[in-house]
Structures are given as structure tokens and as C-alpha cells.
């Protein structure tokens, strides 16, 4: 198999080269395509001069970067069909919201294909999508949906928050023989971080501890993880910050171990509040380590309504590091926190 794979420890390296999240993604795709001729990318505007917000600009193997019409549903089926016929497609969407046009393919086909035939075959398919936010994009261009995809058996759901995770998890997703939904937050694209230049993968299903603390466990992914980290650092909070990195499989063991120590749980989930990832973490932790909890767990996220477009409303709608800090502080003071 031309796909050479090795797992590093899943802690971020130190002292290395700093690149952006966007470049980290680009490098991962470039490496994957170079190491494995079966890897190709396909998507609406995937091949244009903008290169998917830069994450696919100037790739070496341009012949393996295909544009498509506005036909996201069929194109998902095309990617699946190609995955069943010897290739390892990366299907990319400029906005996760566009994936809704392809839910039949994603949930009825991609997610079910292995289970439906007794798990005899491989479905090496990555669906990348960018999560947008703000600037008046409104309700149809700002959804996150990670919890929604995770609800559906058969899909792995990956939401890297750092450049290091972006490359390592993307390569692991491409190397995986089951379908992976890989969600990148647009607001992380310019963040920089250390990324080794040699090829590496990070295991799917392993959380990363972004900050060590003793009094509260905060679980947060993607942009929420970065916001929580900012909140904790700026306010010097004694918080254990766990970024699951993969929403599914979810590294519950790591989360529970932390809650066992801290006795308190907050989930910051930048998504709609009903059900989904935040609810799952609270429910699963409560079921499995009820006795460790000293205080009611708390969820923070979006209000239960579509995104507004006016800037002033957006600034209320979307949580900020400052608001996360307030909530954590209140919780540590034992006050009731309402999301």
C-alpha cells in the first residue's frame, strides 16, 4: 500500500515550524496526494483560483483536483462510487450548509454503506466542509452541524482546532477506511501553530488536553476550544480544557477521567443547543460518572434559533471568549449558569 502511515504522540510538538491552519490543511492534502495516487479531491469550485480559501491552492497534482457543478447530492454519490471503485476521494464543500442538499447521500448512502452489507467493504471517503460564521451571512450560511452528523451511525466526525491537529487528523481521515466528515472552522484558518514537516497522522478518537486545571472540566471543540483556551488563559482559570478533536468516535474516557478529578463539567458547543454533541457529552458523563459530579453540568452554545444577519445581533448570538470566561467563573463560584 503506497499509503505510509505512522502515529505520533497526540500532544503537540514543541519548537517546530509554525504554519497556519490553512497551510496545515493544504500540506496534508498535498502529502496525501503525493503519497497515494488514489487520493483525489472533488468539489464545487475546488479547482478554481481561490483554492478553497487557500487550503487547496497550487497543489502539485492538479489533475486530481476536480471541480463540479452545483450538484452536491449527486457529487457525494459520485465520490462514494469512486471510493467503492478503488479511489480515496476527498469531497469538499465551501460551506457545511451546502451539505444539507446531499443528506440523502450522506446519511442513507455514505454512512450506511458499510453496515448495510455486513461491513465487508471499505468506504475510504472524506467529506471536508468549512464552517462559516458572522458578517451577515445569515441562517443558511453559518451552521456547524457536527453533532448532527455524529448522530448518524457510520460517520466519523472530526473538527480540528489547531494546525497540528488539522494536518494530523486530515491525514488520518484520508487513511481511514470508513467515511469521515471533516469540519474546519473558517475562523481558525489564519491561526498559526507548530506542524512537523514530515508526514504524520493523529489517531481519530483521542482527545487533546489544551489546558491543565483542577477545578472544572471544560469540553470544547474547533473554534469553541480556541475561545475557551483564550478565556482560561486570559483569566488564569483553574480549568482542564479538553478538546475531543473527533466528535465521533468520542474520547469519553479522557473526559471522564478529567471530571473525576475536577467534579465539574461544562461543554462549550458552538451549535444549536437541542441534542447534538453538547447534550451527548453531558448525558454520557452523567450516566458514567454521576458520583464524581459535584454540581450540575452546564452547556454553552447558540440560542435555539436560526442565525441573524445584523452585526449587532450576531455579536449577541455567538458566544465570545469573554462570555465563556464569565460562565466558567460563575460556575467555579457555584452560581447557576444559564446557557
Amino acid at each position: 500500500m503506497p499509503w505510509s502511515r505512522f502515529d505520533r504522540t497526540y500532544e503537540a510538538p514543541t519548537g517546530g515550524r509554525q504554519i497556519t491552519y490553512c497551510d496545515a490543511l493544504r500540506e496534508g492534502i498535498e502529502q496525501a496526494m503525493s503519497h497515494d495516487p488514489r487520493v483525489f479531491a472533488i468539489g464545487l469550485d475546488a479547482d478554481d483560483k481561490f483554492g478553497v480559501f487557500g487550503s487547496m491552492r497550487d497543489l502539485t497534482h492538479k489533475d486530481r483536483v476536480l471541480g463540479t457543478p452545483i450538484s452536491e447530492n449527486a457529487m457525494t454519490g459520485v465520490a462514494l462510487g469512486a471510493a467503492l471503485s478503488g479511489l480515496r476521494p476527498i469531497h469538499v464543500h465551501l460551506r457545511v450548509d451546502f451539505m444539507l442538499t446531499a443528506m440523502d447521500q450522506i446519511v442513507n448512502y455514505v454512512a450506511k454503506w458499510q453496515d448495510m452489507f455486513g461491513r465487508q467493504g471499505k468506504v475510504p471517503l472524506v467529506i471536508r466542509a468549512i464552517v462559516g460564521r458572522g458578517w451577515g451571512c445569515g441562517a443558511q450560511h453559518s451552521q456547524t452541524l457536527h453533532g448532527w452528523f455524529a448522530h448518524s451511525p457510520g460517520l466519523k466526525v472530526v473538527t480540528p482546532s489547531t494546525p497540528y491537529d488539522a494536518t494530523g487528523l486530515l491525514l488520518a481521515s484520508i487513511a481511514d477506511d470508513s467515511p469521515v466528515v471533516f469540519l474546519e472552522h473558517r475562523w481558525l484558518y489564519k491561526n498559526t501553530g507548530e506542524v512537523p514537516s514530515e508526514l504524520y497522522t493523529l489517531p481519530l478518537g483521542k482527545a487533546n488536553v489544551l489546558h491543565r486545571g483542577e477545578r472544572l472540566t471544560v469540553v470544547a471543540n474547533s473554534l469553541a476550544a480556541m475561545h475557551a483556551l483564550t478565556a482560561i488563559e486570559q483569566h488564569g482559570l483553574d480549568v482542564d480544557l479538553i478538546d475531543p478533536r473527533t466528535i465521533k468516535p468520542l474520547d469519553l474516557d479522557n473526559i471522564i477521567a478529567s471530571v473525576q478529578r475536577t467534579g465539574r463539567l461544562m461543554v462549550v458547543d458552538y451549535d444549536f443547543p437541542f441534542g447534538g454533541f453538547g447534550a451527548e457529552v453531558v448525558a454520557a458523563v452523567t450516566e458514567r460518572s454521576f458520583d464524581a459530579l459535584r454540581q450540575p453540568p452546564v452547556r454553552l452554545g447558540f440560542p435555539d434559533r436560526g442565525m441573524p444577519s445584523s452585526g449587532v445581533l450576531e455579536r449577541t448570538y455567538y458566544p465570545t471568549p469573554e462570555r465563556l470566561a464569565q460562565a466558567m467563573t460563575s460556575m467555579l463560584l457555584g452560581e447557576v449558569v444559564r446557557s
Partner: protein, 313 residues
């Protein structure tokens, strides 16, 4: 394509006023856009004004027009005022969508604008639903689906044409074909010829979408036939997008001939040439519109922002 037009002075001036309103408002948006007073992604339709004017001048308030992301032109042509438009772009409560919609989501049911959508293709089906409502209620309004060339690649477009044709619904399909989906030319996204495809389902007419009079004439015929119970019709309007897909910058991939491609220039030349209007009159129109835009911006700027309680579920 030049063919002799017969048009009244009044109709000519009204078409011109609509196109100029769209053009001047769009140019003002483009000018203000870099200052970030409008925090919302805009898709301007400079160069495409004839399609909006030519078609919407046949529509009544009761006709239901469903738009995609490139909303401003047809929305104004259908009756949305400059004040509620600018207030919406400025994110104010006085906006047509109360500050919840932004550029891509305009709402004005009194003028037959039940909403627009930023997901390409889907709103075509809504227009068919309006046509169905008219048919079931035995009322004589139309559903109008307004979409770009690339929307014909979305499955929902075909599903909608099939259903409209099956039931003979009063629906006008307007394909505003600027030849591009963002920077992707039509040849890359469509294997089919749009008219050949549409003709599988319904009578289809091609029109020069940079010519307001031609568009007006073709739309008139199509709409009259629909109103007489002739079932759905498809108007394929070829036009040019002068600006980038999104934002305030000029397009760098489409070659524009400012005379031959400009719907306003063409109509003004015709009106002057045929003696229907004088240069002074035309200049006067432009001035009046500019004043109305000033007023709308003043109104928008002075309007209150929505308050956070509005977000409560």
C-alpha cells in the same frame, strides 16, 4: 441583435427608471461597501438590470417572486423600496427583514416577495408551490422562479420543472444567465444547453437579457400565456455580470463593452433616438434616483439596530 421596438414613452421611462434605480443603488452599495457599514455579503447585478425591469414590469403585487442570492435588482423591480432595502443592508430593525436577513434574504410580501434564499436552486421549488397555490385556489397569480445559469445544475431545478409541467401550473421560470457560477464558466458546469433542456418540460424563449425592450416583450408574451392557463413557461435571459460574483469589485474575467452590453445605455439611446425622451429628461431621472438613494441611506443610518431580546427563542 437589434430589432425594432414599439413602446410607449411612459413604459420606456418606467423601464429606465427601474434599471437606473437598480444600477445607481448597486453602484452606491459598491462605493460604500469597503467602509463596512453593510456587514453582509452582497451579490450585485450591475449589467443585468434589463432582466429585472423587463420581467417585473409585467408582474403584479399578488404574483409571488422567489429569488436566490442575487436579490437586489429583481427585488427593487418587484416593488421593494430603497429604504427597507438599505436599512436591511445596514442591519437595522427598519430593514425589510428586520435585520435578520441581510443582502441575501429580502422579504416584502406586500409586493409579492415572500423571501429569497442563499442556497442555490431551492427557491425554484417555492415558486412552483406558489403556482400550485394559485391553481388550487383558482386565483390568477403567478409563481415566478428567478435563478442563475448554474442553478440549472441543481436537481431541484429539474424536479420543479417536471412538477410544474405535469400540473400545468402558472409558473414563470426566469433563468438569468450571466454565463458564470462565480468564476466557473457555463461550459464547465453544464453539459446541456439550457433551452434544449427547458424545452423538454415547457415552452421556452430565449431573449437578450441586456435589452430591456426585448426582455419586456418576451416576458409579456410568456406571462400572458401563463395567465391564460397555458401552463409554465421558461425565459432564458442571456446577460452579463459586470462585477465579481460577490462584493464591490469589478469582474476581472468577463469582458464588458460598456456600450453594447449596457442595458441602460441601450435603452437611453433608443429613447433619445426615437425622440421619446430628451437627454435632459434622462439626466433628471438619474438625479431624482440619486436623491432617493441619499434619502434611503440617511433613513437606514438613522434607524435603530435590533435589540438582543429579539434573539430569544
Amino acid at each position: 441583435m437589434t430589432r425594432p421596438h414599439t413602446i410607449t414613452r411612459e413604459r420606456g421611462l418606467r423601464l429606465l427608471r427601474t434599471m437606473r434605480t437598480i444600477r445607481q443603488a448597486s453602484e452606491r452599495i459598491a462605493a460604500l461597501y469597503p467602509t463596512n457599514v453593510m456587514e453582509t455579503p452582497v451579490h450585485l447585478c450591475i449589467g443585468q438590470e434589463a432582466v429585472a425591469a423587463g420581467i417585473c414590469h409585467h408582474l403584479q403585487d399578488r404574483d409571488q417572486l422567489f429569488l436566490g442570492h442575487r436579490t437586489h435588482g429583481p427585488a427593487m423591480a418587484k416593488g421593494l423600496g430603497l429604504r427597507p432595502l438599505f436599512a436591511e443592508l445596514y442591519g437595522r430593525t427598519t430593514g425589510c427583514s428586520r435585520g435578520f436577513g441581510g443582502s441575501m434574504h429580502l422579504y416584502d410580501p406586500e409586493h409579492g416577495l415572500p423571501g429569497s434564499s442563499a442556497i442555490v436552486g431551492g427557491s425554484i421549488a417555492l415558486a412552483v408551490g406558489a403556482g400550485l397555490a394559485a391553481q388550487l385556489q383558482k386565483q390568477d397569480f403567478l409563481g415566478v422562479a428567478w435563478f442563475g445559469d448554474a442553478a440549472t445544475n441543481a436537481g431541484v431545478c429539474y424536479e420543479s420543472m417536471n412538477f410544474a409541467a405535469l400540473r400545468g401550473l402558472p409558473v414563470l421560470f426566469v433563468c438569468e444567465d450571466n454565463g458564470y457560477s462565480n468564476v466557473m464558466p457555463k461550459s464547465v458546469h453544464s453539459a446541456h444547453d439550457i433551452e434544449t433542456l427547458a424545452k423538454v418540460f415547457m415552452p421556452t424563449v430565449a431573449v437578450d437579457g441586456t435589452d430591456a425592450l426585448a426582455t419586456f416583450a418576451a416576458a409579456g408574451e410568456a406571462i400572458a400565456s401563463i395567465r391564460q392557463g397555458g401552463g409554465p413557461r421558461f425565459l432564458h435571459c442571456q446577460t452579463k455580470r459586470w462585477m465579481k460574483h460577490q462584493g464591490h469589485e469589478k469582474c476581472d474575467i468577463v469582458t464588458v463593452d460598456r456600450e453594447r452590453d449596457c442595458p441602460i445605455h441601450k435603452l437611453e439611446a433608443f429613447l433619445r433616438g426615437s425622440g421619446l425622451a430628451s437627454g435632459a429628461e434622462l439626466a433628471q431621472t438619474a438625479c431624482e434616483i440619486e436623491a432617493a438613494i441619499d434619502d434611503a441611506i440617511a433613513f437606514a443610518s438613522a434607524s435603530p439596530f435590533p435589540t438582543p431580546e429579539l434573539l430569544e427563542a
